[in-house]
Every structure is written in structure tokens, then in C-alpha cells.
């Protein structure tokens, strides 16, 4: 797999004395599903905003598909890497859903037919097909979150960055949102999710980046991150309940991360008892 985003010794600071990122290097490959975790102020949102050029490094380089973000405008980068804010109300500003979703494609100078098709496809993908004329502000938080995703999806970005996509949603809303993200991943998009929700990490992510005080302190699969108590403590999170039970019960072999895995392990019998 080729790398779509490449950070090489990236430093960034709002204040010269206190850098928010201290020399982060990593590569994200096409088609990966990556979770970024870390405590408040660990630099995870700053890291994510480097991926689409909203921030440019003070030192070091960020390359998107091999091109240095310093040589590209944010508008150019937005075609490849789309960023979806934590609070959809920070991003929604039009009076109809269709107008909201067509804003990006219009700015990319697409012809009207292509825009219409992209808007329809994006609304269909998030489960809001035929809702184009509705007003975004009168819909539920879950729907507004989907509108925000549709509006970036319409630009057909290769990489989608989602900042805490499930905050404030009820359980059904959360499941719908994450199933949507799973479908986007299956359709070939590279997904980067910033989250504190370890159930979500266990259920969906293939790779976890742990940020702590501006540094990347761990880069591995969920299993290896949950097995490292110091790393979890630095990110101010706990492993999911299923994993913690496996530990407390003294299960052998790789510990299940999700209820589904646990069900298989128990139904399979044998080694775990």
C-alpha cells in the first residue's frame, strides 16, 4: 500500500516556548482505518489538522500523495483530505441540506450536473437521500452530523478525518454514524478518527496512534495499545470493558476486544477457561 499522508519530524507551536507537536513522524497508507487517541491538549487535533493543511508545520514536512503541504493551498488539499468538525454546527451554515452539501463542489468549479450528482450520491451515502430541501438546523444532532459528513463526502475526498464523530449522539445515532464510517472505509476511503471512545477503537480501528504531550508515544493495533497500561494512562483512557474482564478473569491467548470476539471465544470453549 502506498502512503497517502507522510509526516516527517513535524514540529508545530502556537507559542514558540511550548510546542504542541514535538517532532512527529508517521505514514498513513491508502485505505487504512486509523484512530488517534490522547488526553486533552495532547496534540491530536493539531496533528489531524496538519493532514489537510489547515496547519502547516513550523519545522519538518507533511506530504499528501507525495506533495509537500507547504506548496499547496488548503483549498487544493481539501479535495484530497476532508476534515469533519466535532460539532456539526461549527460547519453548517446554509438554509437547506442540498445547498450545504453542494458548497464544496461548487467551490471546486464543477459543472452543475456533476454537482447535482455528487450531492445526491453523498446524501444517499449518509442515509439522507431525498432530504435535500429540508433545513439542517431543524434536524436532530445525529442528522446534522450526517449532513456535515455528506458535505465533505460530496467532494469525493481520498482521506476523511473525523473529529469525535459520535459526541452527543444517542446509541442508535452512534451506531448509524459508525456504520456509515465503516461503509466509507469499505468503499476505499482512508479514515482517520480522533476519539476518546475505546469501544469505538476496539470495534472499528485497525491502527491506533497515541499522542501524549505533542509526541507520538505509540503506533500499533488496538490489541497492543490496550495491553500497555502506561500508554493508556497517558492518553487518560481505559481499555474497553470486555478487554478488562478478559484480563481480570485471567483468559489465555490474545484477549477479545469486542463482545462479538468474546462470544466467539467463549462459544469456542477450551483455552480460555
Amino acid at each position: 500500500m502506498s502512503s497517502v499522508i507522510e509526516l516527517d519530524d513535524v514540529w508545530y507551536g502556537y507559542d514558540r516556548e511550548k510546542p504542541v507537536l514535538n517532532g512527529v513522524s508517521l505514514q498513513i497508507r491508502q485505505g487504512e482505518f486509523v484512530a488517534v487517541i490522547g488526553g486533552n491538549g495532547s496534540g491530536k487535533t493539531t496533528l489531524a489538522k496538519h493532514c489537510n493543511g489547515l496547519y502547516k508545520p513550523s519545522k519538518g514536512s507533511v506530504k499528501v500523495n507525495g506533495c509537500d503541504t507547504k506548496t499547496m493551498s488548503t483549498a487544493e488539499l481539501a479535495r484530497t483530505v476532508a476534515y469533519c468538525y466535532q460539532n456539526p454546527d461549527h460547519q453548517i451554515f446554509h438554509s437547506t441540506i442540498a445547498a450545504e452539501v453542494s458548497f464544496g463542489p461548487k467551490n471546486m468549479g464543477w459543472p452543475a450536473e456533476k454537482i447535482e450528482q455528487a450531492v445526491n450520491e453523498a446524501l444517499e451515502a449518509v442515509g439522507l437521500g431525498g432530504m435535500g430541501e429540508a433545513e439542517p438546523y431543524f434536524s436532530s444532532k445525529g442528522t446534522r452530523q450526517k449532513i456535515a459528513v455528506a458535505s465533505i463526502l460530496a467532494m469525493k475526498p481520498q482521506v476523511i478525518v473525523l473529529d469525535e464523530p459520535t459526541t452527543g449522539l444517542d446509541y442508535r445515532g452512534m451506531l448509524e454514524m459508525m456504520e456509515l464510517v465503516r461503509r466509507l472505509h469499505a468503499a476505499g476511503h482512508t479514515i482517520i478518527v480522533i476519539t476518546h471512545d475505546m469501544r469505538l477503537v476496539a470495534e472499528y480501528a485497525e491502527r491506533v496512534l497515541v499522542m501524549h504531550r505533542g509526541s507520538l508515544v505509540c503506533d500499533g493495533d488496538p490489541q497492543s495499545v490496550f495491553a500497555a497500561p502506561d500508554i493508556l494512562a497517558s492518553a487518560q483512557v481505559e481499555a474497553p470493558a470486555v478487554y478488562r474482564f478478559g484480563e481480570a478473569a485471567g483468559m489465555k491467548g490474545p484477549l477479545p476486544l469486542t463482545l462479538q470476539q468474546m462470544t466467539q471465544k467463549i462459544a469456542g470453549g477450551g483455552q480460555w477457561r
Partner: protein, 280 residues
């Protein structure tokens, strides 16, 4: 001795003006001194409306049709979902002084009470800061402090953590846990965070389409996974895991109460293991 409820709704119906459907239908709920009650329900179930009715803000401040009865002793403090919607002061001191000034407290009383509540919510020395400069968790703790200034008997919180990241949410639940232990206050909190509610509440209420579907002590409530699933309520993994282990014959349901935490479940598992080893 049977305790008198502190706050009571009897057969309450409420229909917002301009709404096609009623928001609350035949809702009866009693709150007793010192108990902590969680309210869960899918989006648009009527959780906020129920809390507004408990606070007496419905029907007083809203247009619509009300039927039924509300009886309350003492005062209620209310905390809303987004703390910023309730801030009116430029400093935390101004914010907290507002309700005390309105009941005619002296400057000394106000200052003393502000120091006390800031201590209580774990923000001592914050009086001169702007509430808008704080982290989400701190903002919500200021909102809680402001609801506590007049010494309410009942604290009503409407999804106090839904706008917060998990760390802020943990901060708020830790404060509520401390208030529960130290103040003996009656607390009602609506939330989607059933994992936190399971370890914090004495009793839970499931609300759906404006009606109370379940109103049970916490362990009995989470035993009803069928009803919770039907209404799309997240049943914590520990409880699902427990039911799974019972189904597979690893644990026996008759051996004890429903475990609510990983620690409780692991203890049950170890007991069962000892029994198995002993019987071999």
C-alpha cells in the same frame, strides 16, 4: 417508616403549543430524599421536558397544555445540556452571585457562599475568571455550582455530559458522585451514558415517546435488556457479557445480583471458578 417524596409528578400530561403530538403522557414520578435517579431514553423521548416539568419550568415558562399535578418541597437547582446557554456573568463570581442577589443575601453572605460552592465543585480560587475561558468539564462544574448556590434539595441535570468529551464527562460524574456522598442531595440526571449511570444511580427511568416505560432500581433496570434493546438504549458491555456467561453456563444467575462493573463481574467469575475447581 415510609418517606415522603420531596418532589412528585402525578399523571402529568404536557403538550407544547404548535406540536402535533404530546411531549409527556401520563407521567407519574416520585423523588425521595437522598436518592439518585437516572433518566434514559432515545433522542426526542421527552427527557428534557420531563426535567423541565420536575423543575416546575413547565408549565410556568412554556406555552402549551398541562394536566396533572406537581408537588414539591424546598428548592430545585437545574443544570442544562450546554452550560454556555445559562451563563450570564462575565466572571464566575458574577455568575454565582446572580441568584443570591435575587434572594436578597448580603455581600458577606454572597462571598462566603461563592467560596463554599466553588470548593464543593473543585474549583477554588476561580471566582475572578471568565466562565467562557474554561474547559468543557470546568464550565459544566460552574453551571452545577450556580445551581447549588441557593442550597437546593433536588438537583436536576439535563444531559450534563453530552456536549463534553469523555474526560470532561468523567470530571462531571466524579463531582456528582462526590455530591451524592457528601451532601445527601436528591439528584436526577438524564444521559445517554448508561455505563456511568449504572455505577452512579440508585434508580433508573426509561422514557420513550413521552411515557415512562421502566422505573426500577438500577440492577432490576439493567436486567430488562429486552426492553432496553427495543428502545435502542445502550446496555453496558459488562451486563451483556454477564448474560452471555450465564447463557453459556459459566455463571449462574441465581448466584447473586446483576454485576454492574468489570470488578463485580470478575469477582463473580472467580467465585464460579472456585466452585468448579472444588467440585472436580
Amino acid at each position: 417508616m415510609i418517606q415522603e417524596p420531596l418532589l412528585q409528578l402525578q399523571e402529568v400530561h404536557w403538550h407544547y403549543e404548535d406540536s402535533p403530538t404530546p411531549a409527556l403522557t401520563d407521567v407519574s414520578l416520585c423523588l425521595y430524599p437522598g436518592e439518585v435517579v437516572g433518566v434514559v431514553g432515545p433522542a426526542a423521548a421527552g427527557k428534557t421536558t420531563l426535567l423541565l416539568a420536575l423543575a416546575g419550568l413547565i408549565p410556568a415558562n412554556y406555552a402549551g397544555q398541562f394536566a396533572g399535578k406537581r408537588q414539591a418541597q424546598g428548592q430545585q437547582g437545574v443544570v442544562f445540556q450546554d452550560p454556555e446557554t445559562q451563563f450570564i456573568g462575565l466572571t464566575i463570581e458574577e455568575e454565582l452571585a446572580f441568584s443570591l442577589e435575587n434572594v436578597g443575601c448580603s455581600d458577606e453572605q454572597i462571598e462566603q457562599r461563592i467560596t463554599e460552592v466553588l470548593q464543593l465543585v473543585g474549583l477554588p480560587g476561580f471566582a475572578d475568571r471568565s466562565p467562557f475561558e474554561l474547559s468543557g468539564g470546568e464550565k459544566q462544574r460552574v453551571a452545577i455550582a450556580s445551581a447549588l448556590t441557593n442550597g437546593p434539595q433536588v438537583l436536576l441535570l439535563d444531559e450534563p455530559t453530552s456536549e463534553l468529551d469523555p474526560l470532561g464527562a468523567r470530571e462531571v460524574f466524579a463531582l456528582l458522585q462526590r455530591l451524592k456522598q457528601e451532601s445527601q442531595m436528591t439528584i436526577v440526571v438524564s444521559s445517554h451514558a448508561t455505563e456511568e449511570l449504572a455505577t452512579f444511580c440508585d434508580r433508573l427511568v426509561l422514557l420513550a415517546k413521552g411515557q415512562i416505560v421502566l422505573n426500577l432500581p438500577v440492577r432490576d433496570f439493567f436486567a430488562r435488556t429486552d426492553v432496553l434493546d427495543q428502545h435502542g438504549i445502550f446496555v453496558p458491555d459488562v451486563i451483556r457479557l454477564y448474560h452471555l456467561l450465564c447463557r453459556e453456563g459459566v455463571l449462574a444467575e441465581t448466584a447473586g445480583p446483576l454485576p454492574l462493573t468489570v470488578e463485580e463481574l470478575a469477582a463473580r467469575y472467580r467465585e464460579a471458578q472456585l466452585v468448579r475447581e472444588g467440585s472436580v
